[in-house]
Subunit: 333 residues, 2 copies
């Protein structure tokens, strides 16, 4: 079809690869180019990297070579969580005239922690007539867009609480390790301070909820603690002794006029909890919504990114948050 | 504030009245006029009708007199479920240059049953530069927008099932009677045929889901049956003997390529079931979302309408469905 969305994949790691496979299945999108820094992938056919037939798209080491033989409408950017690490990549993509949909957690609401960078990216995107958007399952859905969607049935909202409990024992190895499972409390603490053990984008979700509901935040607090094992637990990837961490308990609280009106709680743990997501709004009417079994993180992030492409392309130029875009709709097959 | 939304209330029955009270509480909106056909309300002060202080807004018998001393941006229209009954009112509002947000269930997706009327209203609204939108809790949220919001985390959706179980024993008398509770099976059947016992807007919700997911519907089927009591049940309003109806069981199914891919199930019954709403998407990932305790219909309809006003005003002129508008956001207090 002539109006197929032409996608450049910038980053084809675990999530970037799953995204490329989904784009390949969609009749309304076409993968046209791919960039990755991994020497083992450069030059490879994208389809064959995924065990599929050849797609005729080869992984380029940089944007310039990727765009030599291809024209793209939008880049799907999946190389990092923190804006300072990826801002050069984003600027290069914008300069090349590409719209961007990124899994960079900071980019979901960059005005919070990086207002200067946010203004710079917004200005550059406007000058180039492109839109840039950061999204995924969280931030991007469970703890912000889903909450705000539910808030639409409330005449007023007085308090927001979201819980996300993830059974990390079934997840891929890097994600299990990122929960801090198997660490002593001291090791856990040290790793939360480097950011190795911590889920990114939590404070951004608080800020998105506040902006959506019209609350002016005084401040956002965030804590990360280990959940200590009392019995031994093991997974395919790691084992936990009593006294070591089963995973992380992370909280973010947004204060409005001195009161914590937004509370987000995440647990990612390997002792096989029953996973779920839950949104509890104190309001008129009150709402208590549970995602039974939870929302699979990587699969959902892949979906949210791909389902958002059309609305990113249709949006006004500049930096767009979930507050600026219409619903990302699923694909009925 | 100077950019306060100026609201004309067209219909101040149960839901229209709750809407007026909410608009009155909101700092970003102002009630400027009210129209109702009820002789007992005409001439009354709107606030005093609700047991409040005088608001200085008096109920007018018709639009012309309501607009004699007031200028409004948008009309909130709450006088009926079926388009043929209210189309003259809608046209008069459009001719007066008012945007419209209506609880008319047919208007949530009028192209389904009334394509001619839909085209006429769309054309008239465009010619007058106003937007018209039909919404509420259902259609407008639980069985369409909420479903589509959740679909955004799915890479693909293969089947949609929504259940809404309402404990009607606690609801206002007209709503209890509308469930058909206390009727014999024969009386129930007769009343479903007149439309007295039936929830409006079900087929529209099916059509909205299909349009959002990109499914082309072959047809929509709808059935309404009584739920037969085996024990006596009574509420403040009515009593049910064994063999009579406890309420209604209504189903709508949307067929795509011959298969029922969308199934909506509503039960409104007076035997005090545990109310809930549930959305089950067969997809990647699968999603199973439950609103514990359910969503209060009248309160939520009030909220959805009021929360939608800003996006109706910002939308392109013409007929807009939930697919055309951004998220209706709650009001944080």
């Amino acid at each position: 079809m002539t109006d197929s969305i032409r996608v450049l994949h910038y980053g084809i790691g675990h999530v970037g690869g799953e995204i490329a496979r989904l784009v390949h299945r969609r009749p309304d999108m076409t993968s046209v180019a791919a960039v990755d820094a991994d020497p083992s992938k450069i030059g490879a056919d994208l389809g064959m990297l995924f065990g599929d037939d050849a797609w005729g798209i080869f992984v380029s080491p940089d944007l310039k070579s990727a765009l030599q033989d291809a024209e793209a409408d939008i880049a799907i950017h999946t190389t990092g969580s923190f804006l300072p690490q990826v801002v050069d990549q984003l600027e290069e993509l914008i300069e090349a005239g590409l719209n961007i949909c990124s899994t960079c957690e900071d980019l979901s609401y960059p005005a919070l922690k990086r207002p200067e960078l946010a203004r710079r990216l917004d200005g550059l995107a406007k000058s180039k007539g492109v839109t840039i958007h950061g999204t995924g399952v969280n931030p991007g859905f469970i703890m912000d867009k889903f909450v705000l969607a539910i808030s639409g049935v409330c005449q007023e909202v007085r308090h927001v609480r979201v819980e996300r409990i993830v059974d990390a024992s079934k997840r891929r190895p890097p994600l299990q390790l990122k929960t801090g499972a198997g660490l002593s409390p001291e090791e856990f603490l040290a790793q939360t301070e480097t950011g190795a053990v911590r889920h990114a984008g939590y404070q951004e979700a608080v800020a998105l909820i506040a902006a959506g509901l019209g609350w002016k935040l005084d401040r956002v607090e965030e804590t990360v603690k280990p959940i200590i094992a009392t019995e031994p637990v093991s997974t395919d990837v790691l084992s936990v002794e009593p006294g070591q961490s089963l995973g992380l308990h992370q909280e973010a609280r947004g204060f409005v006029a001195g009161r914590p009106l937004i509370e987000l709680i995440l647990e990612m743990r390997v002792d096989r909890p029953e996973g779920y997501d839950r949104v509890v709004l104190d309001g008129i009417p009150p709402m208590d919504v549970k995602v039974i079994g939870g929302t699979h993180g990587d699969r959902a992030t892949t979906a949210v990114v791909v389902n958002s492409l059309a609305s990113v392309l249709a949006a006004k130029p500049g930096l767009a948050t979930i507050l600026d875009l219409p619903l990302a709709l699923g694909w009925g097959v």
